[in-house]
């Protein structure tokens, strides 16, 4: 049998494109080319342009693979020019999933910022799939403005779920906004979970990660219970090219989620 080529992307078509915010769009692919677990990521290829790593935003139990992506660089810009029916490529899944086994029976405290809501959605849906396994799911999410909130259409449904507690904030409000105003740490003054035992998950832009982690450490979460989505330049996705290394960790292989215990001694892990 010929060995599997880890650099070859599986071709697949884009089924649907859903604009979420002015610069964030969800791409639903026509099927599930990879079997992933929440927390793992994939490399998405725009044919002829290149590829970039993304964590799926869809449930691992879904039939279609989804990515919610912010337009920030060369590959994402090309991706945003694609339409329904266009072909892309997928490689993966890569990295380690969240240790959901260890989350069982516990309160899970999740903090997201900006487009960091995308991987969190996948985790959230995986937790909700077996909602009874967890004591409670608390979700805290901050966006720049009400317009920048991702999954606006899904949030009301999620807020109604029993055992789920969601609080949102925006950096800058407008006339439509009745909720909290301020960066995400303002909604972290009240942490209604047992910090001694609960796992907490953070995903967002570097500064948000830095200050949120600081807040969670102060609140008393165990360092090995603070799960952080690390963002690094990535090329191969399979722990060989060296690009994503932070300290001794390959974010693609040992991550993309590392704990504060892992990275706290690294100078500027969220740079």
């Amino acid at each position: 049998m010929e060995a599997v080529n880890p650099y070859y992307p599986i071709p697949i078509k884009i089924k649907k494109v859903i604009p979420e915010t002015p610069n964030i769009t969800t791409f639903i692919l026509d099927g599930m080319p990879i079997q992933f677990e929440a927390g793992q990521f994939a490399e998405l290829t725009v044919p002829g342009v290149g590829e970039a790593p993304f964590t799926p935003s869809s449930s691992p139990y879904a039939d279609e693979l989804e990515f919610t992506i912010m337009k920030v660089g060369r590959v994402t810009e090309a991706l945003f020019n694609l339409r329904e029916g266009d072909a892309v490529g997928v490689r993966g899944p890569f990295g380690k999933p969240y240790p959901l086994k260890d989350f069982k029976g516990k309160e899970v405290f999740i903090v997201g910022g900006g487009v960091g809501f995308a991987p969190i959605r996948s985790l959230f849906l995986a937790l909700v799939h077996n909602l009874k396994d967890y004591k409670r799911i608390c979700l805290r999410y901050g966006a720049r403005t009400p317009q920048d909130i991702v999954y606006k259409h899904l949030l009301p449904k999620w807020q109604k779920l029993k055992g789920v507690d969601i609080v949102l904030t925006v950096d800058v409000g407008d006339e439509s906004w009745n909720g909290t105003v301020g960066v995400v740490t303002v909604i972290l003054d009240d942490i209604p979970v047992n910090v001694k035992t609960s796992p907490t998950v953070v995903c967002g832009p570097p500064l948000m990660m830095k200050f949120t982690t600081q807040r969670l450490v102060e609140a008393g979460f165990k360092h090995s219970n603070i799960y952080l989505s690390m963002e690094q330049n990535m090329s191969c996705g399979v722990g060989k090219c060296n690009h994503c290394r932070v300290g001794k960790f390959y974010v693609c292989k040992d991550g993309p989620v590392l704990t504060w215990q892992d990275v706290k001694d690294i100078e500027e892990p969220f740079a």
Partner: protein, 334 residues
Amino acid sequence: MKLYLLPSSNLLDFFSRLAKDGSVFYPVLEEEKTHIARFDTDKTFEPNFNRIRTAENIKHFFFPSRDVVATFPEDTQKKASKQYIVGVKNCDLRGIDVYDKVFLQWEPADPIYQQRRDNTIVISADCPQPEDCCFCTLVGLKPYAEGVSDINMTPVSAGLLFEVLTERGEGVMSTAKDLFTEVGKEQEKERDAIRKEAVKKLSTINERNFKDDIGNRVDKASNEAMRDARNDCVECHSCLHVCPTCYCFLLSDHKKGKDVERVRTWDACYYAAYARVGGGANPRSKLDDRFWNRFQCKFNYFNQYENFYACSGCGRCFRGCSAKIDIREILWKL
């Protein structure tokens, strides 16, 4: 291990035998440096196994500077052709040791590397005349092969003393046994003396060793410890491209007709944009951090992964350095 003696007069015949089913590469001396040449029965350069490693590193043979690693939508993998690399020094064997870890043992295995590795026979050679740039003994190596290669040769007065190290090596010998003669005790003795002399010479070149816990010392080293050397760096990156143990690469996609080729190119962690993410953030935007990172990678992290340094002591990095920054000087100070 089995020993054979190849009289010098039979060397080109041996190469011709090898060339029947593959390309043969070997070192030749040109303007005081050895370079890699391809054996050709019509145009033969004189092999030189006495001098130190070739100016070029042997990474090209396993992991070329530009390599198509996938095509799509259809993946049409090319088959690697057979090659013999003759006269490889132990410093370059450490390079192969590093690639074997990264590309084969660290899962998933890389089938492109695997194919090249499977189709490459490595015939190493002792390094009897270390030069001032050599420091293999400071990174745990000897100036002769201790593994990795299929056959090792020692140049002795009667010719080349061959030691077969693998089954593949045995296979190669079986096609050319008639060219070899019996080995006497005197040749073994001569080899041992040559090796001893080379080790002695290295201890004269490098009077001090690195501290035993150099990995930890690098781990604890601040950027400041490397300031003087870093200030001299002109960021030409040649140290990384000539390094036999550096394995960083970048994948990029290129249209070719209706298909797309995914190309793997050597990369180097000294490039300013190496760690920059799509959104523009760059954890190693300063040369200080990139300079420091190279030492961490080679002496700290890789040592933590595999218990040996991703440095071979070949000295190419400072022979090729525009600022003549000697890696030993930095490590000795730690």
